[in-house]
């Protein structure tokens, strides 16, 4: 082997390169930016979760004895806005996407590193603006439907402006990732050798890029309605309040796929590693990410079946909604087939992945109930919807997020956490989540509407059960958090590749050095050759 004359690189973990808070705030290292997002979204997840606990506490009894109904409306507005805009939309993409994409494709960083840190600052400024405005307080619900949002006292202009700013962060991150994946793959890293998390991130980034501007213009129109007296959504001026919903959901439906597709990507990474088997149907899963993203643009009005849209439109959208089940089911079947005859290792990350499979299946199936026009007429705006959305967003995305956290923890932080405690925490989270949300399907079918502080007495026992579940869930999350944070302080350093994973990020030290790769790798194979003899 020819000796090159380049000096030996001394390995410095990226966490130790440049110290001090200020250096973090202006870093252009995608791995640090991912941590900035990770910390921010975790803080907001916690705050949003506390609000949820308050809501569920009120719902222990049928009367508004803990908070009055108006305060309850403020609470669910806060909970929804914080969870959707501050946590789950940026979510996996901004945190794990940032950390993993360059590493997985064999690049030193993203295409536009300065834009990347700019995106985080825009995100932070947006969250501060929205939070200040929400606390004024606001009681519109996170969906801000007109005519209420156009006429209420709440500082809707400021909230929507803040969300507009947040949208920019999402758009610019999506832009960065698309360019990175197209243009910065290592030599030999063809599209069909890419890890499935990259395919998922790519599909998500397209949604971030092209769907978000539509909610941007929607919010600008709402601001114009409130400030200039423009009447697009005002029937008195010839406008149409349902138009707001059409524009709003044109973005917000793809947005829910921004929430779930990266989590699906994570599952595709975790399962082969802990089943010691190649992923089943790589191309099907890869293209299904694109398929889901594409179909997600076609279905938005299924949120509006009872809003006053025409029967023709409703029927068409109901049919289109069923289509999205196809690529989704392809993924679920392929993950299951990967498990079949695998050597399953029940590491905590795998537990989250398996939890995802089960819970997301329930969430996805109940989506079909809602997509069917006839049943949705009865289920719309009931607890059935609340249960469905939490099964996909928490049972799906959050499980994926926590699984990613446990899986890449050694790589990102260079430490190991206590595996036993992690498993116990997972168990509490899994049980707590189901006790909280499964009863809500029944509540919904029985007619309990969402966003109400008071309810008929016959629902009390299921409501109380749901609240007890929320306490178990909270304890599980707390235990998990304590475990992961204390792992950071342990003396034991993580090995480079504790799980025998084959993708590129595991071929560099834990944590990686600032430049990721001493030399850009030359890729020769796909990333899922588990169980094969080398």
């Amino acid at each position: 082997m020819a000796n090159n004359t380049i000096a030996e690189h001394v390995y410095v973990p990226f966490l130790e390169e440049k110290k001090g808070l200020l250096s973090w705030l202006v870093t252009t290292d995608h791995k640090k930016i991912g941590i900035l997002y990770l910390i921010s979204i975790s803080i907001f997840f916690t705050l949003g979760g506390i609000i949820a606990l308050l809501m569920r506490f009120e719902l222990l009894t049928p009367v508004a004895d803990f908070v009055d109904p108006h305060t309850y409306n403020v609470l669910f507005t806060l909970h929804g806005s914080m969870m959707v805009f501050f946590f789950i939309v940026p979510g996996l993409a901004a945190s794990f996407g940032n950390f993993l994409i360059p590493l997985m494709i064999g690049a030193p960083d993203v295409a536009f590193p300065k834009l990347n840190i700019g995106s985080w600052w825009i995100y932070l400024i947006g969250t501060v603006i929205v939070l200040i405005a929400l606390l004024q307080p606001a009681d519109t619900g996170w969906t801000f439907y007109t005519p209420y949002s156009a006429t209420t006292d709440a500082d809707v202009v400021l909230i929507t402006f803040g969300v507009f700013v947040l949208g920019f962060s999402s758009i610019l991150t999506g832009l960065n990732f698309i360019v990175t994946i197209h243009k910065m793959r290592a030599p030999g890293m063809t599209w069909h050798r890419l890890p499935l998390f990259i395919w998922a991130s790519y599909a998500t980034a397209i949604l971030q890029l092209l769907a978000t501007p539509v909610v941007g213009i929607t919010l600008l129109l709402l601001i114009a309605e409130r400030t200039l007296g423009v009447g697009f959504f005002d029937p008195d001026k010839g406008g149409d309040p349902v138009l707001f919903q059409n524009f709003f959901w044109f973005y917000s439906h793809p947005a829910v796929y921004i929430m779930i597709i990266p989590a699906m990507g994570v599952i595709s990474e975790i399962i082969p590693v802990f089943a010691r088997k190649p992923i089943f149907g790589y191309k099907a899963i890869a293209y299904s990410s694109l398929g889901i993203a594409f179909i997600s643009f076609l279905v938005w009005a299924h949120h509006m079946f009872t809003a006053g849209i025409s029967e023709v439109a409703a029927t068409i959208f109901s049919f289109l909604t069923f289509l999205v089940a196809i690529p989704t089911a392809i993924k679920v079947f392929n993950w299951t087939a990967t498990l079949y005859k695998g050597s399953i290792q029940l590491h905590s990350a795998m537990l989250y992945a398996l939890g995802f499979l089960f819970l997301f299946a329930i969430g996805g199936l109940t989506g079909i109930f809602l997509g069917a026009l006839a049943s949705d007429i009865h289920l719309h705006d009931t607890y059935f919807v609340v249960a469905h959305m939490h099964y996909v967003m928490v049972g799906g995305t959050v499980m994926g997020f926590l699984g990613a956290l446990h899986f890449w923890y050694p790589k990102w932080f260079g430490k190991m956490f206590n595996e036993t405690v992690a498993k116990i925490a997972w168990f509490l989270i899994f049980i707590g989540f189901n006790v909280t949300f499964f009863p809500q399907f029944f509540l919904g079918v029985q007619g309990m509407p969402r966003r109400y502080a008071t309810y008929p007495e016959e629902f009390e026992s299921l409501m109380a059960l749901s609240t007890y579940g929320s306490w178990i869930l909270a304890v599980g999350l707390l235990l998990m958090t304590i475990n992961l944070i204390s792992g950071l302080f342990s003396k034991e350093k993580a090995p480079q590749n504790p799980y025998g994973s084959l993708s590129l990020e595991w071929q560099v030290p834990s944590p990686p050095p600032h430049e990721n790769f001493e030399e850009i790798p030359h890729v020769t194979d796909w990333t899922y050759g588990y169980g094969k003899k080398s």
């Binding site: 698309i178 197209h182 243009k183 910065m184 793959r185 290592a186 030599p187 030999g188 890293m189 063809t190 092209l210 539509v214 149409d240 349902v242 138009l243 059409n246 044109f250 643009f297 076609l298 009005a301 006053g308 849209i309 025409s310 029967e311 023709v312 439109a313 068409i316 959208f317």
Partner: protein, 102 residues
């Protein structure tokens, strides 16, 4: 090598091409303004939008160099238009079938 674009040949458009395109655009503008003074019923919209689309295409292809860009750029230039067609098409469908139920 996947990270290198295949066509890095730097095509430089001549000044003459730009002038010709500009003249074409001015002619098209004159046509569309002239037609707007004449009432041809539904064709007013058809002609106005067709002329606008030709102008837009010409600006994109030549002034913006799209003619010489790779297929990925073409994809991302055209896909938003498809999405807009979807948004406009479906919301109009909803509006129309509300007013005139099928």
């Amino acid at each position: 090598m996947s990270s290198h674009s295949s066509s890095e040949e730097h095509h430089i458009t001549s000044y003459k091409t730009y002038i010709l395109i500009w003249i074409l655009l001015m002619i098209l503008t004159a046509i569309t303004v002239y037609v707007s003074y004449v009432d041809v019923g539904i064709f007013n919209i058809v002609i106005a939008m067709s002329v606008a689309s030709v102008k837009a295409a010409v600006v994109a292809l030549f002034f913006m160099h799209l003619k010489f860009e790779d297929s990925i750029t073409w994809g991302f230039a055209l896909f938003p238009l498809a999405l807009l067609a979807l948004l406009i098409g479906m919301t109009i469908l909803d509006t129309f079938t509300r007013l005139f139920p099928i």
